[in-house]
Subunit: 420 residues, 2 copies
C-alpha cells in the first residue's frame, strides 16, 4: 500500500512548520507554493525601505527542505479544489492546469492586503505582502527622490516628497519610521538640490492610537518616537485617493507616494472549501484547526479564524508557526493511528515593533519595554528565526553595517526602463 | 561667469571614471543614466546563475559619487541630441522630455547585445547586459528546473533541461561553466524527481575555438575544463531558433532555455551625432577620443571604435576605465586652459575568464596561467575593483560561503505570479 499523501498549500511560516513536523512521518508530503521562496515577512518593510536586499529575507523553499527526503516541493498556484474527490487544482509554471490528489490537506495560503470597498485605491497605493510588492514600493520611494532631484525647484510641488502611510498597525509604523530614517540619511548625503526639510511622512491612524494591539504606554512611546523622527500622525480615514494625493476627512494631503498598510484579506480559500468565513475571508475552523465536516483538511495561519479567550487570534508569524506544528503533528498521529491531540492553544510569546533606527517596543505578558534595549531584543530574535543560516549571517552583517555607517544594502531601482 | 557644464551620459565604468577625473575641476558635472545604479558587468553572469545577488554587483551611482560636490546625478534616458545647440534631450523618470545644455559632452553609453539579422531570436534567447536581463535569465534557468521537477517523468522531454549558450567568448564560457556547476550542486541536492544526468549544457562556438581572444594554449585549457564539467562544445552557428530549440547547421538541439552571448551593438549614439560608425554601431573617434569636428564631444568605452596597433580596442572594462580617465583629464585641462594631452594609449593589463568553480584562465603579456591560481588572482582583482566597500565585503563573504558550502546567494524567482 502506498503511503498517504499530505498536500500543504503555501510555504510561509505555517506551511513550512507543518512540513517540518511531518519529516519523520511515513507519508508522501507535497508542498506547493506560487513562489519558489519562503519569505520572512516581518522584515519585508526593510526591503521596501532599502535596508535589506530581497535575497536576505527570502530563501528557496526547496533549499530549506532539502534534507527532508519525504517531501516534494512544487511551484504552482492553487486555483480551485474538489473536497469530495480530495483533489486540489493548480496552475503550474507554464500555466497548465494540473490536479493533485490528497489524503490530508493543510491550507496555509496566508492573506494579502485588502482595500475593502476601495478597490480602485490599489493603483495609487500599493500594499506590502510579497517580495514583488516590496521591490515596487522601494522603486516608488527612490523614484520620488529622483523626481525631486530632477526639478530645478523641488519646493514648487509639495506632493513630490510627501509619503503617506495608511494604517498605524505594526506595518504602517515600521514603514513610517524607516522612511523617515531613509530620508534623513540619504537625501542629506547624496542629493544636491533636495532639501530634506521639504520631505513629509504622514501616518494615517484610524484606530484611536498607533499600534492599537499594544498597551497604551507602549503606544505612547511609539508616538513620541515617531514624532521625534518628524513623522506626522494624522487621525482619520482615507476616503478618496488619486495620483495627486489622499483625502483624509476634509483634508487633502498632496502626495505622489501613498502606501497601504490597512487591512488584510484571506482571499478565495473559503470559496474553494464552500465553508463559512469571517469578514476578512478567514475560514472558521474547529479547535483542532480543521474545517467543519472535513477532518482531513486543516486551515492555519492568516487564512484561518480561530477564537481563543474571546478574541480571534492575530495574523502573526507565531500563530502560523504554532498552528503549522500542531497540524503536522495531528496528521502524523492520525497516520500512525494514535489518538487525536487535545485542542490547539496559542502560546503568546509577545510582540514587537521597530520605530526608526535603534528603537523598538516590546510587550510580552507583563513585560513592557521600549527603546534601544527592545531593539536589541528584536534584532536578536529576528536573526534567530531567519530560516537559513546563510541568510542569518548576511542580515546580521548588513544591520551592523547600516547601523554604523548609514550605508544601505540595496537602493536599486530595478526594471526601470532596463527591460525594453 | 558660471562654471562650464560637463554632461556625462552613462554611469558604467567609462562614465564614472570620467566623472571622478573631474572631481577637482571648476566645472558643473552632470551625470545622466537610465538606471540609478552602476553595474559591475563582469560579474553579471554570477547573478544570472544565482551565485551573487543583484545588490552585490550594483550600487547607486549617486552613492558612489556622494562626496563629489561638483557633480549632480540624474535619472533619465537620452533620446536625441542637437550638437549645434550643444544640448542633449532626455526622457525623465515620468517620461517627460527635458533638454540639457552642455559645454563638454562625454558619451559613455555602452553597448547592448545584438542579434544582427536575427532580431526575432530575442524573444527565445535573452542576452545578458543589464541587471534586469540577469534576473530574467536566472528566472528562466530556475523555472526550467521547476518545470522538470513537476513532470512525472522528466526524461520524456529532452529539451526541458538542455541549456544552450550561443557564443563562446568570455560571457558564453563563463555562463556555461556556471550553469554546469549550478546543475551539479543544486539539482542533486534539492530536487527529487530530476536526474542531473539528464541535463545538458551546449556551448555553440562559431569562431574556430572557445575564448578566441585568448592564446591557443589557454583556449585549449578552457575547452578541457568545460568538457570535464560536462559542457558540450558544438561548433557552428545558430540559424534558426524557436520555443522548441535551436538549429545549429543541420542539427536540431531541443531546448527551452537558450541564452544569447554573441555580438554587441552600440545602439543609436552614431545616429545622434550624425557621424561615422563601424559595423557594430561604434562611433569612430580620433586619437584624443573626440568626435571629428566636435572637440567638445568625447565618446568612450563600448560605444567607441578606436584602433591601436592595427586592432580595434576590445569592449572591456579596462578600456572604458582608461578612456574615461583620459576624457575627464582632457576636459579638466581644457577648462584650465592647459595644452591638450598626447593621444590616448590603452595599457593592456591582461584578461581573464572563469570556467566553472575554482578555475580560471589568465593572460597578461607573456604570462599565461590556468587553474585554481588564476581563479584566486581573478577573485582578488575583481574584489579589488568592486565599486563600493560595502559590496566588496559582501561579495567576498558570499564567494567563500558558496565555495565551501555550495549554498548560493540568490535563487529567487522574482515576479513569478506574485505581482498580480
Amino acid at each position: 500500500m502506498s503511503r498517504p499523501r499530505v498536500v500543504i498549500v503555501g510555504g510561509g511560516f505555517g506551511g513550512l512548520s507543518a512540513a517540518r513536523s511531518l519529516r519523520s512521518a511515513p507519508a508522501e508530503v507535497l508542498l506547493i507554493d506560487r513562489c519558489n521562496h519562503h519569505l520572512f515577512q516581518p522584515l519585508l518593510y526593510q526591503v521596501a525601505t532599502s535596508v535589506l536586499t530581497p535575497a536576505q529575507i527570502a530563501s528557496p523553499i526547496r533549499n530549506i527542505l532539502r534534507k527532508q527526503k519525504n517531501t516534494l516541493v512544487l511551484l504552482g498556484e492553487v486555483t480551485a479544489m474538489d473536497t469530495g474527490a480530495r483533489s486540489v487544482f493548480a496552475s503550474n509554471v507554464d500555466r497548465e492546469h494540473v490536479s493533485i490528489r490528497y489524503d490530508y490537506l493543510v491550507l496555509a495560503t496566508g492573506a494579502h492586503h485588502s482595500y475593502t470597498g476601495h478597490e480602485s485605491f490599489e493603483q495609487f497605493a500599493p500594499g506590502l505582502k510579497t517580495l514583488a510588492d516590496a521591490v515596487q514600493i522601494r522603486n516608488r520611494i527612490l523614484q520620488a527622490f529622483e523626481r525631486a532631484e530632477a526639478q530645478e525647484n523641488p519646493a514648487d510641488d509639495p506632493g513630490l516628497l510627501t509619503f503617506v502611510l495608511v494604517g498605524a498597525g505594526p506595518t504602517g509604523v515600521e514603514m513610517a519610521g524607516a522612511i523617515a530614517v531613509l530620508i534623513r540619511q540619504t537625501l542629506r548625503a547624496e542629493y544636491r538640490r533636495v532639501d530634506p526639510a521639504l520631505a513629509r511622512v504622514v501616518l494615517v491612524e484610524g484606530g484611536g492610537r498607533v499600534l492599537p494591539s499594544f498597551s497604551e504606554p507602549l503606544s505612547a512611546a511609539a508616538t513620541r518616537r515617531l514624532e521625534s523622527l518628524g513623522v506626522e500622525i494624522q487621525p482619520g480615514h482615507v476616503d478618496r485617493l488619486d495620483e495627486k494625493g489622499a483625502w483624509i476627512g476634509d483634508e487633502h494631503v498632496p502626495s505622489k507616494t501613498v502606501i497601504w498598510a490597512a487591512g488584510v484579506n484571506a482571499g478565495l480559500v473559503g470559496k474553494w472549501l464552500g465553508t463559512a468565513t469571517d469578514r476578512s475571508g478567514r475560514v472558521r475552523i474547529d479547535g483542532l484547526l480543521r474545517v467543519p465536516d472535513h477532518p482531513e483538511i486543516f486551515v492555519i495561519g492568516d487564512a484561518a479564524a480561530l477564537d481563543q479567550d474571546g478574541h480571534t487570534l492575530p495574523g502573526v508569524a507565531q500563530v502560523a508557526l504554532q498552528q503549522g506544528r500542531y497540524a503536522g503533528r495531528s496528521i502524523a498521529r492520525a497516520i500512525a493511528g494514535q489518538p487525536t491531540l487535545p485542542p490547539f492553544r496559542y502560546f503568546d510569546k509577545g510582540s514587537m515593533a521597530v520605530v526608526g533606527k535603534g528603537f523598538a517596543v516590546l510587550e510580552a505578558g507583563k513585560v513592557r519595554i521600549s527603546g534601544i534595549l527592545a531593539w536589541f531584543a528584536w534584532a536578536a530574535i529576528h536573526i534567530h528565526f531567519l530560516a537559513q543560516s546563510g541568510l542569518r549571517i548576511a542580515v546580521f552583517l548588513q544591520w551592523m553595517w547600516t547601523y554604523f555607517t548609514g550605508q544601505r544594502g540595496s537602493r536599486l531601482i530595478v526594471n526601470h526602463r532596463s527591460t525594453k
